[in-house]
Symmetry: C2
């Protein structure tokens, strides 16, 4: 066994860049003073500071991160860990949104974002080694499944970590940001009952994902609050096809349903397919809701009423929280939960299917 993977990168030629020593020489000060001037200038005379600043510009000096990192024991980089065995999920815009948000949080910082994707268990082991190796100052983990043990593994290492989406196991005092999935589910129940639907069912997500479980819980609570029975629940895997199959079962067993809440827009598309295949219409016969406010919700044949969540803000928050925890280790910030909102579209309009209404 080898501590270092087999392949690495060769030396890059590149003209020698100026060192701190060169800079100090050019500025007519010592290396120490130059260093202080570079790093926020505490205890540096205005003259020295100015001289160094000038030298920085004229030499095009850029501090060597490796040298700095070697002595400070910090890397000025954080990791985004995406432990997702399924490639398909990465195609989700969610992914891009998270990255955009974190980048935004890092903008005024010289902290770099390092991407760590692990599809296989093998990858996970490597990723974990990398994280423990002190190569990053902190990590943001997008972990969704019950099975994965990132919460435990990382809390053991003591590496500052923020989860996006409540991890399954919150026993290891992990910090996380999330959207109010339970509230979103409740909004769905309230909306469908509010437009007069009475025989409601849901196509929920996988029972091993916190988001799915929370949405379902909220949905059922909302139904109870509206004085309605909890109604049938079928689970699917957050894919269109999986939801279509689940919805077929649902419709066969409960032909009198007049409203369905699918726990994601992609699933709602599958449900819509099944409804039409059964010769029923949306929203005429069955009102349909999705979740996420995904692009497809708007472009669907019958645009979907759905739940929107402030994903970018959430990702930004994850980034800033991580920076804070890195600067003040030991502070265990409280989880932050963002509220969700209803987006009404044709799939729950009281009027008959109104696909031409837009124009």
């Amino acid at each position: 066994m080898n501590a270092s993977p087999p392949r690495s990168l060769r030396q890059v030629p590149g003209r020698p860049s100026p060192t701190l020593e060169d800079l100090a020489l050019a500025a007519g000060v010592s290396r120490s003073t130059a260093s202080r001037a570079i790093n926020g200038g505490d205890r540096v005379s205005p003259e020295a500071q100015a001289a160094v600043d000038r030298a920085v510009v004229s030499l095009g000096y850029i501090p060597n991160r490796a040298a700095r990192s070697l002595v400070t024991r910090r890397t000025s980089s954080i990791a985004l860990v995406i432990p997702e065995p399924d490639v398909r999920v990465m195609m989700d815009p969610f992914f891009a949104v998270v990255i955009t948000g974190i980048t935004e949080a890092l903008r005024e910082t010289d902290v770099q974002l390092v991407l760590l994707m692990s599809r296989t268990d093998d990858d996970s082991a490597r990723t974990l080694r990398y994280l423990r190796g002190g190569h990053v100052d902190g990590a943001i983990v997008v972990s969704h499944h019950k099975a994965d043990s990132w919460a435990r593994s990382l809390s053991e290492t003591g590496l500052p970590t923020i989860f996006i989406g409540r991890p399954w196991d919150t026993a290891f005092d992990v910090t996380y940001v999330d959207t109010d999935n339970e509230g979103g589910g409740r909004i769905a129940a309230r909306h469908l009952s509010g437009i007069g639907r009475r025989r409601l069912a849901t196509v929920a997500g996988p029972a091993d994902m916190t988001a799915a479980v929370d949405r379902l819980r909220g949905w059922q609570a909302g139904l109870r609050e509206a004085g309605l029975p909890e109604g049938p629940v079928v689970h699917a895997d957050f894919t269109t096809d999986g939801a279509a199959a689940a919805a077929r079962r649902l419709l066969a067993e409960h032909p009198d349903i007049d409203g369905i809440f699918a726990a994601s827009d992609l699933m709602a598309l599958g449900v819509m397919e099944a409804i039409q295949a059964a010769g029923r219409s949306v929203p005429g016969d069955i009102a349909l809701m999705g979740y996420d406010n995904h692009a497809v919700a708007e472009t669907a044949a019958t645009p979907l009423t759905t739940i929107t969540q402030p994903m970018v803000e959430m990702a930004v928050k994850a980034g800033t929280m991580l920076l804070e925890e890195i600067e003040a280790p030991g502070s265990h910030p409280e989880p932050v939960i963002y509220s969700t909102e209803l987006v009404e579209r044709a799939s729950t309009s009281v009027a008959p299917t109104a696909s031409a209404a837009k124009a």
Copy 2:
């Protein structure tokens, strides 16, 4: 002016990890031998190698990247540069696909992917500084617009760089991978003429993006080859709304059109909107094609015939090409162009609008 941005990360406590010295001690060899054993073991006796390997495991030794990087002048990381002023574009699945592909290429390597997004010119300057600073061994740039000068800037630094998508200015011998946009445009022309449409028009992308220009050129060449006139061309900005507006103009000026090629699926959606608003049908009155095989092409009210391109492979190729160029600097690999394929759906079927046909 300051060479280093104001904010950085504090020191992480963390137990001291074993150094190479510790490892050597545990293995009963010198630091030099331990180093050699770690790095591919050239000129190391089997016994020494085994002893070091054992020590690595028992100590949980992980080499300090900073120290290594300091002396080797290589960082074992590459940058993915996304110079996109528009947030919206990042929401595109394209983005996730590129990252997935590059990650795949890096899998068996210990090279890390660092993400560099620059929205503003200010960001760009910082990003460029970072790249010149020798913080990464190479870069992959996803640059699309005529205006941006990444090709020039980077070719000047000598940093190994691969572009995804042909950069506008190929004068600075840049290496790139791309899909055959011209071929894709030609396929579109051939397909629409093949199903008997004769009065064809296109909603092209912005004239300052190579992909848009190439698709248009291919389209027009295809029309000529089919013995048809080049027909009207309107430009839009690759957005749904922009395309809708362009299509309205197009339809007003050329009411007899019976086929439209939109240079992206998102734009095709806008075109479809405009067609329906004009009281015409797809594909009955007007056959419509998109490009990209985006998720929405399948979920659209009338599923879109479109052009698919092997994006993941392309991104993987970009990754492997970069690794090669880093290992063998000076080699200027030829650009690689991936071919595209037609995906037929309802929007160009000869039968009348078949939205219910799917079930």
